[in-house]
């Protein structure tokens, strides 16, 4: 049997594939984060909580209303998006003219509240959620057993990432939003309804997190802590990609997923910090991140 870096080739491919699957979550989450940061200059610490909310929304919809996976995939993000809109209107919008630090602190506080409340209600152990029947089972790829659901996750995340990217980079919307982060008053003076734009953007970013949450629900336990475990890593992904760069977030998300997967083979203990090591190196060589624009 041939080997790659000392491990059997099939096992290696398996690990690559798994890295890609995890990368899908990183990409989706960091995409939402990058959209919010890039356009609102808010470092959305509540992103992990919104991801968790997405998963819980799906879980509760199923438990209390009997609404299944597929409708939840639309409904849960909608619900989370609406809560995010409320948050933006009532709180975040008052902070835009201040140091970005305050946005970070506010969302940090929100994350603590959301997690605390869910932990209080549901405990920390996590709730079960099953994949839809159409996507259960696995296919044998020869080198590994690939759960069909995970394949779906990769496909779904690719589609969502791509369409969001197109929406923001290839339409006027993106230019408005980028300009508004620099000088919202002036853009508004040009006749753009900036406040509404920002509200919708935050809603969109949070909804993206919620989609990731619903996608994750059948794979991981639906737990109040699922987001806080992930959020710091996702931050690192966004920073490596270049804060504010949508494409950067997506590409880096997949890339770091794969790199982390490989680390799990060669030095598993370090798998939780490999991303930070890469982040430190990248920032030292390319301060603006891989895809970021130098200011």
């Amino acid at each position: 049997m041939s080997t790659i870096f000392g491990i059997p080739a099939p096992a290696f491919y398996g690990q690559l594939l798994i890295g890609l699957i995890n990368g899908s979550f990183y990409a989706l989450l960091s995409l939402g984060l990058a959209v919010i940061f890039g356009l609102l200059r808010v470092i959305n610490f509540a992103h992990g909580a919104q991801y968790m909310l997405g998963a819980f929304a799906a879980y509760l919809l199923l438990g209390y209303a009997g609404i299944g996976y597929w409708p939840s995939l639309i409904l849960a993000p909608l619900i989370v998006g609406v809560t995010a809109v409320v948050i933006e209107r009532t709180m975040l919008s008052r902070l835009y003219n201040l140091d970005p630090l305050y946005g970070l602190l506010l969302t940090f506080g929100l994350a603590l509240i959301l997690e605390g409340v869910f932990r209080y209600w549901f405990g920390a152990a996590g709730q079960p959620y099953s994949p839809p029947s159409q996507l259960t089972g696995a296919v044998n790829l020869g080198f590994m057993f690939m759960p069909i659901y995970r394949g779906w996750v990769v496909v779904a995340s690719l589609i969502i990432c791509l369409s969001t990217w197109l929406l923001i980079e290839k339409t006027r919307l993106g230019a408005y939003l980028r300009a508004a982060t620099e000088n919202a008053t002036l853009v508004q003076a040009f006749g753009v309804n900036v406040p509404r734009l920002l509200t919708l953007t935050y809603g969109l970013g949070a909804a993206l997190a919620a989609v990731a949450g619903v996608l994750a629900a059948p794979i991981y336990q639906v737990s109040p802590l699922m987001g806080s475990n992930l959020i710091i890593i996702v931050f690192a992904v966004v920073v490596v990609g270049g804060m504010g760069s949508i494409l950067g977030a997506i590409v880096t998300g997949y890339m770091l997923g794969v790199l982390e997967g490989l680390t799990k083979v060669f030095y598993p203990e370090a798998s939780s910090i490999v991303i930070f090591v890469i982040m430190a190196i990248v920032l030292l060589i390319r301060p603006a991140g891989l895809f970021g624009r130098e200011e």
């Binding site: 398996g14 690990q15 991981y220 475990n229 799990k264 798998s271």
Partner: protein, 380 residues
């Protein structure tokens, strides 16, 4: 015959909001209150009070709370102490302060080994018992090639080490292990490594959410379909409930108590259920037992002073809903029988909480280390 400060206070210090919140948590506080109630609410003519705090799994938080309890709130004994680092820290502090601790929530054998204390008691399971129970039984059943998923900290190592030792002593092989960071979330990569190692048992030397996620993902990747068995080294009824039978079915685990083992157990469980809305696991019942035994000792000693009570706790046999024929070794280890369970298939389960099949019983003397082997200075 006098209790200090006209009150006997027992502190329940455990995780009430983190990954072990279901494992013991608030329900354990309820169990302690039940014990006081069942004892009559008073000892030596003074009231018994239960105080509790959430240590958030941080040894420093736990130490400060414990110190404050001793210094300002006249707490006489602290119980439960979930997670090893917390238990070691609080037991160490209590030794210095000459106070009794009765650990039910932590696993490390160091509590009655290298770091034992004359006032420290280890009341429920420990890593050795889990290793013997799960490790030994599986090897006997043909699960002789092991691969470990180990949480990258002291508790994980000791669980892995002790289980490996046991597996090897029974003629099994350890093919490898991976050490994953705490809260690793995704275990598929590790599971794949385990699979490609050719092992027929994957031993999960971790706890809480980590174990739950690993089991869930193992099912997803068809690990168990390939004939590989999963052994959760530390997993209780509460977590099985959270995971659901569908994902957990077939899992082998060791616990020291199960509600459906006897009428006495069922009666206790029913009462507990009414108070908390859930069935007790070995931690909850263990805490109940610890409080009860402590009060018995105080009663018998006629004082709540540490030295005489600790002496009696070492001498008195343990006989209650939790332990039959239990005895306490000189190093503080309470020895009682453990059981190996298998999680039922969904179709085998007759009620919501009907989840275990008992595979075998592990007698206390095999499950726990002899005092002389424990490395505890007190016994030399």
């Amino acid at each position: 015959q006098q209790a200090s400060d006209n009150v006997v206070k027992i502190g329940i210090l455990n995780d009430q909001s983190g990954v072990y919140a279901d494992f013991g948590g608030k329900s354990s506080v309820e169990a302690a209150r039940m014990a006081v109630q069942d004892f009559g609410g008073k000892v030596l003519g003074v009231p018994v009070e239960i105080v509790n705090a959430d240590h958030q799994n941080k040894p420093d938080v736990a130490s400060s709370v414990a110190r404050q309890w001793y210094d300002t709130e006249k707490v006489d004994a602290i119980m439960e102490l979930t997670t090893s680092s917390v238990a070691l820290a609080v037991q160490g502090l209590s030794k210095e302060k000459k106070k009794i601790t009765m650990t039910t929530g932590a696993a490390t054998t160091d509590l009655t080994g290298k770091q034992c204390s004359p006032y420290g008691f280890h009341w429920a399971y420990d890593t050795h018992a889990l290793a013997v129970g799960t490790g030994g039984a599986l090897v006997e059943n043909g699960g002789n090639k092991w691969f470990f998923l180990t949480a990258d900290y002291a508790f994980g190592y000791s669980l892995e080490n002790e289980t490996s030792k046991f597996v090897k002593s029974k003629g099994g092989q350890v093919l490898g292990s991976v050490r994953h960071p705490l809260s690793a979330n995704d275990f598929s990569s590790f599971l794949l490594q385990a699979q490609s190692s050719g092992a027929n048992v994957i031993g999960m030397a971790n706890a809480g959410l980590d174990t739950a996620n690993a089991i869930k993902q193992a099912a997803e990747f068809g690990v168990t379909q390939g004939g590989t068995r999963l052994a959760a080294l530390l997993f209780t009824l509460a977590e099985v409930k959270g995971l659901g039978l569908k994902a957990a079915q077939g899992l082998t685990l060791t616990e020291g108590w199960y509600w459906d083992q006897s009428d006495e157990n069922r009666a206790f469980a029913k009462k507990f259920m009414e108070k908390t809305g859930r069935m007790p696991n070995m931690i909850h019942t263990g805490t109940y037992s610890a409080v009860t035994q402590y009060l018995k000792a105080v009663q018998k000693a006629g004082t709540d002073a540490t030295e005489p009570v600790a002496k009696l706790l070492h001498e008195m046999p343990v006989e209650d809903v939790f332990a039959k024929n239990g005895k306490v070794l000189p190093n503080g280890r309470m020895v009682y029988d453990m059981y190996l369970f298998q999680v039922k298939k969904p179709e085998e389960s007759k009620s919501e909480w009907d989840m275990y099949k008992q595979l075998s019983k592990v007698p206390g003397d095999t499950a726990y280390l002899k005092a002389a082997e424990s490395g505890c200075q007190l016994t030399q």
